[in-house]
Assembly symmetry: D2
Homo-oligomer: 309 residues x 4
């Protein structure tokens, strides 16, 4: 299903499951996508940063998308296609769209600094992949070290009709959502889907500022779905209640560098992944860290039975 | 009172109070230090990054320390003396020690990269200020972009007997505390006080990993004191309970760039500061952000009357 | 003499002379400014990055400007006033203008990323120092990590009538000069003085692209004056001949980090400075490096007697 | 031919030739490698940063190595295998060694900061590719932002017997060569080949400090060969004479970002490449820049007929 600017809800960032020997664990991949489907995700993103995309071979990337489409094809699937060269970006983008992906996500290379460099890069990227492929801007300064103002995002959106979504992952980023929605109200920005990242750490307020949902990972994507649903239903206090319950673990999982190890550890504990392995170079959890995660899970489980694992 | 390697407990990072015209609000400064004293702080840190130290004139810095000593002199006062040149560092360090400060805090300049550059810098700094002044290592990679391994910290500590404390502000940083404490057990590191930063966002577990306390800011330093006290008393669950209650606001206050505006806004609301002004260049809160903070305060106040403001 | 947008020629960046004990060597300072005057400099810049400005105390900075004015007051003197806070920037700027400086130079703080952040910073800086003080934009991405497009520079110039000069130190930077001069021709940019940096390493072509002169350091500022004079006189080949003769040493002196040590070593050898000392933290030359510089000097001296030292 | 720690001389960094449509220009590739062979290169490096390696598809990389081996197989061929994941690194390394490459070059990923992170990374990389493949450390802080001390390089060399060469590209870097050679004399470092980069900008003195040759690009690799040969023959002045003649162009070509465009422009002018095209995203030369390069060529040609093109 193609991704459109009406997209809304939760698009989990899928980790890539590996076997302890570093090969892809395809059975877990199938189970993972089925899981995302069954809990009611509105789509999914594969081959993102937390999907260890740069460590995959081109044919592995393509196969992963195939598996994803087989399980979730009725929902829009977003595929990260960021690459050092436009040739590789085009090649992957066209392949995955042919396979049934809904759109692609493009992160700016870390060397970009000025507004013109950023908007120029997206213009070139669209020229490369073709203007018929819906794409998502990834705005993630903490990791990418590229800072986009609301005006820069607006220019990318207005210059490129195939831009349908912003993966908002600035930090702090609440004012950015408000500004972009103000642009829309004023008429200087066309409607665009805004879904947020950062492991959901500010999802409670991001929804109140006008986000359409989340495009991020957390070992309990159901929690992201709860918060988005409750906020859309106007149940502010209930949204914050469930959010606050999970916040201690979300915070723990949002640690740069070890966050993915935490996420995979919990997802393995939940039985979704067979292993918590990362392809090298990767990070691992100490025994102390695992005990801390277990403690946090036990605390959440007192009020949320899903954490009883 | 001199700072020693036995130091333990909570050393709030003091913001510098300003009037709306940018001048220092001395009355608020006096009230702030009195407040830190009355709630049972074990010391205080002035002229840190969140104290807007680089924006102060030398004579203002000295006056602020004088005010602090007058209110809190019975407790060790830590003074940030980081400076581009060692001449200025020495000058400020010696002045504030004469005024009754307990020690100084030194951050590495952002240009340092290699282990040798870092240990070499601290050796030169100690040579500059004199080996009779107790000093604190500030380990804050997110803002300073200098990464210190546990082995580098150990070398600084072992090479410089006047090093008495580590302000631990790495992120993620839990394993670093464990490693340093392991060094001590093995006998390769002498005892040193480890107090943690990052707005307290991991204080719950940092205490369990072996931290001696906190050296950071939060609009409710009483909460930091609670967590440290409960963890020291072995009341793990109670420590996490009160910590988790405040975590939504702590997270909000820990946003890079706008965090200080949140902290000053709440401290002004509490009546501790007369204004939430920053000296230019600074940041300010939008009406939406203020309403969000108010909402978080109201939620905390249901269980912690101190947040009823 | 006030600095204007007509400024042209060579404004050497003055190193700050120190005694081996780290105190300022005032006698050498006097001699240095007299030297700049006598060789026909069109002005001078003090308290720049290569002047070790951040290591000076406020009163030392003021005294240095006084000494400079006494020797070179008939020429426009540019004073670096970059500071972490606008209060200190204003204080120094107003003091030095009262003492007879011609204008001030402002570098953007390294944290700035977006176009708006940069133009906003200069607007605030001008508000702080007052719109009556002529100022110079320092555009030096290699060291400051702030990248300004020609359009950003244009906006700063057009928004702030007190902006009279660009210290152009981008690398590569030739196209930037051409673009700015094209803006002027098109009428979108008012006239502004463009003087170049980077140790003169591209001065030969910068003049041909439309630069007005140089605002940089080199142990033989006479060479910069020669190149600027010859290029203005249309003697292209002669300009390149003398430039190429010095290029091996200019390249050697333009090494990041040790460049200042090379410059001071040669200027001490020339008898302009009494010592080649830097205030700590600083760098020093090895015996091998000194021998290499001596060798380069001997090679230049075969064709330029000024290098016979 | 396998690369050994006795390697010496000039190993040009080969650009990858492209057609204007972005496909690889294989005829030019063949001609380029034949050219390197005919001028007496001691080997060659393909798939380096200046070879636009990250923009190539895996099969293109392999084909390029095949072409190179066919023309230069009697000399050691170094292949850049840097990759975000060790799986891809291993895959490419083993393939190219099977095809007849002499060794591989590994650059540290830009995220590495501490000494331990750097040495740990190389240990993992060797584990990944196998300890039977000779490898080259690429030490290039300006572009990679990873700073390696001499002691870190020594540790990598001593821990990994398959490390045979350092591509030295620190800036400034002369003291680093001296220190490493001192380590060898003292017996703490085993013999290793040191070849230098930075476009040859310091090759004159690098040879005098103990470098074995150059592993870098310049549109006239013959010049690098001349300098290395003359310095090895003890003809210091002659080496500097020919070096200084080319320095104005070397400096022009060593501009970050546009340097590759200059190199390809001149090599196309020389008839070695059919086009000066880069695969997107790339940079191009303005008419003014081309005229400047032509002027520099004409000046060199007065004394070096090879520049008459």
């Amino acid at each position: 299903m193609p991704l459109t600017s009406d997209a809304s809800g939760v698009f989990p960032i899928a980790p890539t499951p590996f076997n302890p020997d570093g090969s892809i664990d395809w059975a877990s991949a199938d189970r993972l996508f089925q899981f995302y489907h069954d809990i009611g995700s509105d789509g999914v993103t594969v081959l993102g940063i937390m999907g260890e995309a740069p460590k995959l071979e081109p044919e592995e990337s393509v196969e992963l998308v195939k598996r994803c489409v087989a399980r979730m094809g009725a929902k829009p699937i977003i595929v990260g296609v960021s690459a050092p060269g436009f040739a590789a970006m085009r090649s992957l983008a066209r392949q995955v769209m042919d396979l049934g992906a809904g759109g692609v996500m493009i992160a700016p290379p870390p060397s970009l600094r000025t507004d013109d460099q950023i908007t120029g890069y997206y213009a070139q990227a669209v020229e490369a992949i073709g203007s018929d492929i819906p794409f998502v801007i990834q705005d993630y300064p903490l990791t990418l070290s590229v800072v986009m103002t609301p005006a820069v995002i607006r220019k990318i959106v207005m210059d490129n009709p195939s831009c349908v979504m912003l993966k908002h992952e600035d930090w702090p980023g609440l004012e950015k959502i408000s500004t972009l929605r103000k642009f829309q109200k004023e008429g200087s920005l066309r409607p665009i889907s805004i879904v947020t990242g950062n492991g959901g750490l500010f999802l409670d307020f991001e929804m109140e500022r006008g986000a359409d949902g989340a495009n991020t990972g957390y070992a309990f994507p159901e929690l992201l779905i709860d918060v988005v649903r409750l906020q859309k239903a106007g149940q502010r206090d209930a949204a914050h209640d469930i959010f606050d319950l999970h916040l201690p673990l979300m915070r723990y999982e949002q640690q740069q560098g070890v966050g993915l190890a935490v996420r995979k550890y919990v997802m393995a504990k939940r039985g979704i992944l067979a292993h918590d392995a990362q392809r090298k170079p990767g990070s691992a959890l100490s025994a102390a860290a695992k005990a801390e995660v277990d403690y946090l899970l036990a605390r959440i489980a007192k009020h949320d039975p899903r954490a009883k694992i």
